[in-house]
């Protein structure tokens, strides 16, 4: 069929009002977003938020209760499931390897299931990519958790997917292995693979993802990590002086780009600013002019973690919430 042309140029994923319910338990509800081709998209959320269920739904394993989606330009309906599955691959939450088979035997089976051309070469390449070339003949039961995870990753790479779903790929990995996975994701991004990454690691999402969505049964927010920070937190400068200022109001009142201030301890001041690049030099000049001894002026840096905790930390746990509906 028109395998090549399908959805050229359109988004890799587009999801409209998608919901999934198990009986009367809501796994996720009214989720809409788009992911561009070649984008690394982070999907964050607390335990039970519906991340895995979303991946399974987009991966055609379970049917949504309502809403629609297009995967690689193909409408997500049961009769398209096989075509969709040919273009994606999923690394599930648990590796699910055949433990009695060797690493190479596991990969061989999946290379055949995807009908990849030149399977030997593909398998060797995938194993090199996850740095497991020397463990090809090991029985999977003898591998550690982290190594099994890497075999699962290699398995997901065999078919050269357009869209790669990674469900918590670095859960349980040591720092070196985690960095290796991060570098791999970077390389895949350069090759133009679209990556849908669910994770609990906020620094991971911040470092790797072009955009992130935060889910807690419903979608709470979506955007570039930097944008989310700016949307949620007023920008601010913290000023620390050696001694308390005699008349801070007088100093901070008429500064350009400063909207207000409040004290932070006896010698600290937090200025709400619209543009730190304008406010910081002006504040410095005013403080020096007033004869104050300035210890530091810095713009307060909010991390994605602050955004996440702000949005999710005050929620009721996703499970209770879903149960109540």
């Amino acid at each position: 069929m028109d395998d090549q042309d399908h959805g050229r140029g359109g988004p890799a994923l587009s999801v409209h009002g998608l919901s999934k319910r198990f009986g009367n338990r809501v796994a996720f509800e009214d989720v809409s977003f788009e992911v561009g081709r070649g984008e690394v998209f982070g999907f964050l959320g607390p335990n039970g938020a519906g991340k895995t269920t979303t991946v399974r739904t987009l991966g055609t394993l379970i049917t949504p209760t309502s809403g629609s989606a297009e995967i690689a330009g193909i409408p997500l309906v049961p009769q398209n499931a096989e075509r969709i599955r040919r273009r994606i691959s999923i690394m599930p939450e648990s590796p699910g390897l055949y433990l009695r088979l060797s690493v190479a035997e596991n990969l061989e089976c999946f290379a055949d299931l995807y009908r990849t051309p030149d399977p030997r070469e593909r398998i060797a390449r995938a194993l090199r990519t996850v740095d497991l070339a020397d463990r090809a003949d090991d029985v999977c039961a003898s591998l550690s958790k982290g190594l099994r995870q890497r075999v699962a990753l290699a398995r997901a790479l065999l078919s050269d997917p357009q869209i790669l779903f990674l469900d918590e790929p670095t859960a349980g990995l040591d720092p070196v292995a985690t960095r290796a996975v991060h570098e791999l994701i970077d390389r895949l991004r350069r090759r133009g693979v679209t990556i849908f990454l669910t994770t609990h690691r906020l620094e991971e999402a911040e470092r790797l993802c072009d955009r992130v969505a935060i889910l807690n049964t419903t979608l709470r927010t979506i955007g570039r990590p930097g944008e989310l920070r700016d949307q949620l937190f007023a920008k601010s400068l913290t000023v620390t002086t050696l001694a308390p200022l005699p008349d801070p109001d007088h100093i901070f009142a008429d500064l350009p780009a400063v909207d207000g201030w409040h004290p932070d301890g006896s010698c600290g001041y937090i200025l709400a600013v619209s543009d730190p690049a304008v406010a910081a030099p002006a504040a410095t000049r005013a403080l020096v002019g007033a004869g104050a001894d300035v210890l530091s002026i810095s713009s307060l840096h909010h991390s994605l973690q602050d955004v996440y905790l702000e949005l999710v930390g005050t929620d009721t746990p996703a499970d209770e919430q879903a149960g109540r509906r």
Binding site: L61, I62, E82, I90, L99, E105, F110, R115
Partner: protein, 240 residues
């Protein structure tokens, strides 16, 4: 869309590798045939020429058809429930494999070793009878129509047992439960072959042909029914 023989072969190869390395399956494949082999062999080897007459009316050889009725049902009962229990079903179902391909691959993988074991047991039985039984008993026992029926019915019965076991396996999560139910499902076939073996149901060429037709029908139907019962979502989430 046509079926991919490469995918079916991939499943067969993977299953056979797993079976070889799964002690419980190897034991199943060894024990049941032994049980079916030893009892008739002990009886037959103890017979004297005088009992050859009544023996001609029994079809002891057909009793061995219990092997293709029971061995594959136990292996097939493991096929889906086992994958589910190991957590390997999800990655498998994310590939482009179609359920008909998956089920056919698994069925072939259960059929090949079961049929091989069954034929091996027949060969051992026949060899023992030829070598060690009284010649009159041997010639009363080993009749060509029976040996032919044996060869012909083995894959037909095994295939039916496989679909029964696989259907149960797709419905029940627990491997043990599904194997026990599988055994139950295999019993009617054993009962039928035993009734024929002991001449309660007298085998005639007509009845044999009818049975072949019925089994072919059941085997084709079994594939359809199991494919219909096989529901990705239910298998993965345990709901629906």
């Amino acid at each position: 869309m046509s079926m991919s023989s490469r995918r079916i072969r991939a499943i067969v190869r993977k299953e056979l590798r797993e079976y070889r390395r799964t002690p419980s399956i190897v034991v199943t494949m060894a024990i049941i045939p032994l049980i079916f082999l030893v009892q008739p062999l002990v009886v037959v080897l103890g017979l004297t020429a005088s009992s050859a007459g009544p023996l001609a009316h029994e079809h002891v050889l057909l009793y061995l058809l219990g092997i293709p009725a029971l061995v594959p049902v136990l292996i097939a009962a493991y096929a889906v429930a086992g994958e589910r229990q190991q957590g390997t079903l999800e990655p498998l179902l994310t590939t482009p494999i179609r359920r008909e391909e998956l089920l056919l691959g698994k069925a072939l993988a259960s059929l090949l070793p079961s049929a091989a074991v069954a034929y091996a047991v027949y060969a051992v039985f026949i060899a023992c009878v030829e070598l060690f039984a009284d010649p009159a008993v041997a010639s009363a026992l080993l009749q060509w129509p029976q040996i032919l029926a044996q060869v012909l019915f083995t894959p037909l019965i095994a295939t039916w047992s496989i679909w029964a076991g696989m259907g149960i396996s797709a419905k029940f999560t627990d491997v043990r439960v599904s194997q026990q139910l599988g055994l139950l499902a295999g019993l009617p076939t054993v009962a039928l072959t035993s009734l024929i073996a002991f001449d309660v149901i007298h085998p005639t060429p007509g009845r044999a042909l009818a049975l072949v037709a019925a089994l072919l029908l059941l085997d084709g139907l079994g594939w359809r029914i199991v494919s219909a019962v096989f529901d990705r979502e239910r298998l993965i989430t345990g709901t629906r």
